[in-house]
């Protein structure tokens, strides 16, 4: 038996949620779909595909103060940032939720990042299975699935007369408490994501292809903007700087990317990744080699945002295929 919720019941549940919490959901703004706070369920784009920007902004905001400091009675008072607002994200896709979950690796390791931990604790994710994966999607190749519930608190899957509901975590239980679910024998069609990206064994292949001129050639085309990193649900690098206003200092953390010039520039002016090829290689080495080595899963969830957004078609799926080929060649050569 499947527990289900009609579309109307879902809307009234969400309407109740937004009375007490911030409800973040996909919203259409001009030609874009973005995860934004909604004030009424009418604003929610229920039928959208992947949003243009990932929902990571709600866990790792593009700009966030770590703490503020000000002079108080001949002393300096430091106030760490505290996240008080309870937030519910509705309509997060399994790939995006997994993107958030895998960042627990770097952010909740010892020592844990306090802000990340707070955002995670205060946010409940209502996931939505992908009934029609987009052409750029390749989640199944990266160990995910369009109906993967492992990283959300509740997963909804579209069925004929509403949504099948799977409550995954205690946080999900709490959120859905009091909502009457019907028992039904419907089952949602199990969606599939057909794109085949040969990610199996990619870490080894990347190692072998590390010194290949491939990266330099690829970097010929790359513009080295930060877009791929900023639309990506799993890119988590940041910059830190202090900002002063009216005698108060804020220590800010903002998104930053390994593609930007000077990202690794150190005091004295040396930059170990000064050339474009090694900067571009870093992006893929981090996702396909370093991240899995350090934390287990691949650092890419196959949402396809970078594939669609890149102005010069630097396509991670194509790169994975190329690297497998290069790695295989290096393997042959060494035998």
């Amino acid at each position: 038996m499947t527990k289900t919720l009609s579309k109307n019941e879902l809307e009234s549940w969400l309407a109740n949620i937004l009375k007490e919490r911030t409800l973040v959901a996909p919203r259409r703004v001009d030609d874009l779909t973005l995860f934004l706070p909604v004030h009424s369920t009418d604003e929610i784009a229920f039928d959208c595909s992947n949003t243009d920007l990932s929902p990571k902004d709600w866990f790792f905001p593009r700009t966030e103060a770590l703490f503020t400091a000000e002079h108080k009675d001949d002393d300096i008072e430091i106030t760490p940032a505290v996240i008080e607002q309870e937030t519910v994200i509705f309509g997060i896709r399994p790939c995006d939720a997994k993107g958030i979950a895998i960042l627990d690796g770097p952010y909740l390791g010892d020592p844990a990042d306090s802000l990340w931990a707070q955002h995670r604790a205060k946010t409940t994710m209502i996931g939505l299975s992908c009934s029609t994966p987009a052409p750029q999607c390749f989640c199944t190749s990266m160990g995910g699935a369009p109906y993967d519930s492992s990283s959300v608190d509740i997963l909804l899957t579209e069925v004929d007369d509403g949504y099948a509901v799977e409550t995954v975590t205690e946080k999900g239980e709490t959120l859905i408490q009091g909502v009457e679910l019907k028992e039904s024998d419907v089952s949602g069609s199990v969606p599939s994501c057909d794109a085949q990206v040969p990610a199996e064994g990619i870490a080894e292949a990347v190692k072998k292809a590390f010194d290949d001129p491939y990266w330099g050639r690829l970097a010929d085309r790359c513009l080295h903007c930060n877009m791929c990193a900023y639309v990506c649900p799993t890119c988590y690098c940041f910059d830190i700087r202090d900002r002063t206003e009216g005698g108060k200092i804020e220590r800010l953390r903002t998104w930053e990317s390994c593609q930007s010039k000077g990202f690794t520039k150190i005091a004295g002016g040396h930059d170990p990744r000064a050339d474009k090829g090694s900067r571009l290689r870093q992006r893929f080495c981090h996702k396909l080699l370093y991240f899995p080595e350090q934390f287990g899963p691949l650092g890419c969830v196959g949402c396809g945002r970078c594939v669609v957004s890149c102005p010069v078609n630097i396509d991670i799926r194509e790169i994975i295929s190329d690297i497998q080929e290069l790695g295989a060649k290096v393997g042959e050569g060494s035998n």
Binding site: V29, Q136, C225, M227, L252, W255, G262, V308
Partner: protein, 287 residues
């Protein structure tokens, strides 16, 4: 069968690479979706058959010449792109004898994105009055007669708004800007080795990815391009959050034309008015 333009570009590329005129030909190839074009760098004549030209060849490849300084390079340019060559020549960023220019009389570029292609021309192509490249060493296609300057209805509309309405319009857009700098990275006129936006001392623009800083960033960038923007509109095309950047660029373009009778990139030896000074020039705008 490859189109005639594609054939001509491939043949020229083979010739230039084989006789050693250039070490690289920068052109277009078909991208990973099999639909749209992407920039291609051809170093070997045997790979020249990757080159294509069709109505998705949107990128302004002149930008890449900045990474090829001192190296003989051929580049495929459309009319608008060719003006960027003159801009960079005027500003002594590239050397004319190092660049072999394959000019293409532009058929107009359609609206397209990854895995989708429409038949509608891009907005900038409606405004375009430079289909024939202004500089070339080899021309593909027959030069066309250009139409008189376009009127920008969207600028008229924007200017009809009150100051408050305009401020709110830009504020709303600034909220979306993620400061990825794709606009800058795609722009042939943006080549500063240290961009003001990332300068730490002085810190012209704060580090925050927030509306105030984003407005500051986009406004200053537009001013830096006053009289220099060659209307390829790549900044607007690449923007992941679709900011209407060309509203600012075209407004400034109109203003520069009106004040200085100057259009950027039309000739190799006419630098932008705001970076030149003439002895008898009138100082001050209000006379």
């Amino acid at each position: 069968m490859a189109s005639d333009f594609t054939q001509q570009i491939r043949q020229k590329a083979i010739e230039l690479l084989e006789n050693g005129t250039v070490e690289c030909v920068i052109g277009y190839e078909t991208g990973s979706d099999g639909i749209g074009a992407r920039p291609a760098f051809i170093y070997d004549a045997a790979e020249a058959d990757r080159l294509v030209f069709d109505n998705t060849c949107t990128h302004n490849l002149v930008k890449y010449l900045l990474n090829k300084k001192g190296k003989s390079t051929a580049v495929v340019v459309k009319g608008c792109d060719s003006r960027a060559l003159n801009l960079l020549l005027n500003e002594k960023q590239i050397e004319r004898d190092k660049a072999f220019v394959i000019g293409v009389v532009c058929p107009g570029i359609v609206e397209w994105g990854w895995n989708k292609r429409s038949q509608r021309l891009q907005k900038r192509c409606d405004w375009c009055r430079q289909h024939t490249p202004v500089v070339s060493d080899f021309m593909v296609g027959d030069p066309v007669t250009e139409q008189p300057p376009a009127a920008f209805a969207d600028i008229v509309e924007a200017e009809a708004k009150t100051a408050e309405e305009r401020a709110s319009f830009w504020q709303q857009h600034a909220e979306r800007c993620i400061r990825c700098y794709a606009c800058r990275q795609a722009c042939p006129g943006c080549y500063c080795t240290d961009c003001f936006a990332e300068s730490l001392d002085p810190e012209w623009v704060g580090i925050r990815i927030a509306p105030a800083e984003s407005q500051m960033w986009n406004t200053i960038r537009a001013f830096h391009l006053a009289g220099r923007c060659i209307s390829c509109n790549e900044c607007e095309r690449v923007c992941p959050v679709k900011l209407p950047l060309s509203l600012l660029n075209r407004k400034l373009e109109q203003k520069v034309l009106e004040l200085f009778d100057y259009k950027a990139g039309m000739s190799e030896d006419a630098p932008a008015p705001l970076i030149t000074f003439k002895k008898d020039e009138k100082l001050g705008i209000a006379e």
